[in-house]
Symmetry: C2
Subunit: 113 residues, 2 copies
DNA sequence: TGACACTATGTCAGATATGACATAGTGTCA
DNA sequence: TGACACTATGTCATATCTGACATAGTGTCA
């Protein structure tokens, strides 16, 4: 579901609101990125909370320092699943994750008040 | 962070509670699976709410009917990211996702009350 | 200044996920 | 019964992700 999205969907006659309250493609992408960034921040916070270095965390995750750095940097090569797995291994609960995701919501456009 | 987890971690001297309130490896896995199942259910619900067939949804996602079926079945070949992307394209908000994830939490062991 | 611990960035071989296809199963309507 | 729409399952080539490595950047302490 990655490449050639826009053109194909436009060809298929996508119109914002065709079914009502569907998001445009690019907005869904933006929301996903925001969510991943929120998880990145949560990961860094949690690591620091425990006083771990990236190297130490990498050991626990059975990963590498470079990947931990990319996770925390919101690098596009890092999947949401990896971020969530890492957070869970750092003791985060479903509720913690839910909160991080909920908080990722953009404060919206403020079109009307 | 997949294979050979257990043995390596055990060799590294993993003990539940070594840092306190860390989850055991297998529990983190279980939680992740629960979360993905919750998202699967949310996807099916949302698709049905809009009266779409799997084929119709696949078109919107630029995917295929078979993959939609696997998504809804909680097939291990489906990533969390794919589930979330699909939900977002069906108009789910960050809050919706957060709720689904929060609800995925197991009702715990009831060890003490 | 240098030495050190920590973090960031680029690359790549191997592992995993993906869309697509075929095909089978299920339910409904006539 | 058959025809049809929908869903499930298996497979596969290709796309994407991952851990690992090298190396560069940053901060701190002496």
């Amino acid at each position: 579901m990655k490449k050639a999205k826009q053109t194909k969907l436009e060809a298929a006659g996508w119109v914002v609101g065709s079914v009502k309250d569907f998001l445009g493609l690019s907005e869904a992408d933006a929301v996903l990125i925001e969510m991943k960034l929120a998880l990145s921040r949560a990961l860094r916070d949690r690591r620091k909370k425990y006083g771990f270095s990236q190297v130490q965390l990498a050991e626990r995750l059975q990963s590498s320092q470079s990947r931990v750095a990319k996770m925390e940097a919101g690098d596009p090569s890092v999947s949401m699943e990896l971020l969530v797995s890492a957070l869970l291994l750092l003791g985060a609960s479903s509720t913690d994750l839910a909160n991080a995701i909920r908080r990722s919501e953009k404060s919206k456009g403020r079109h009307a008040a």
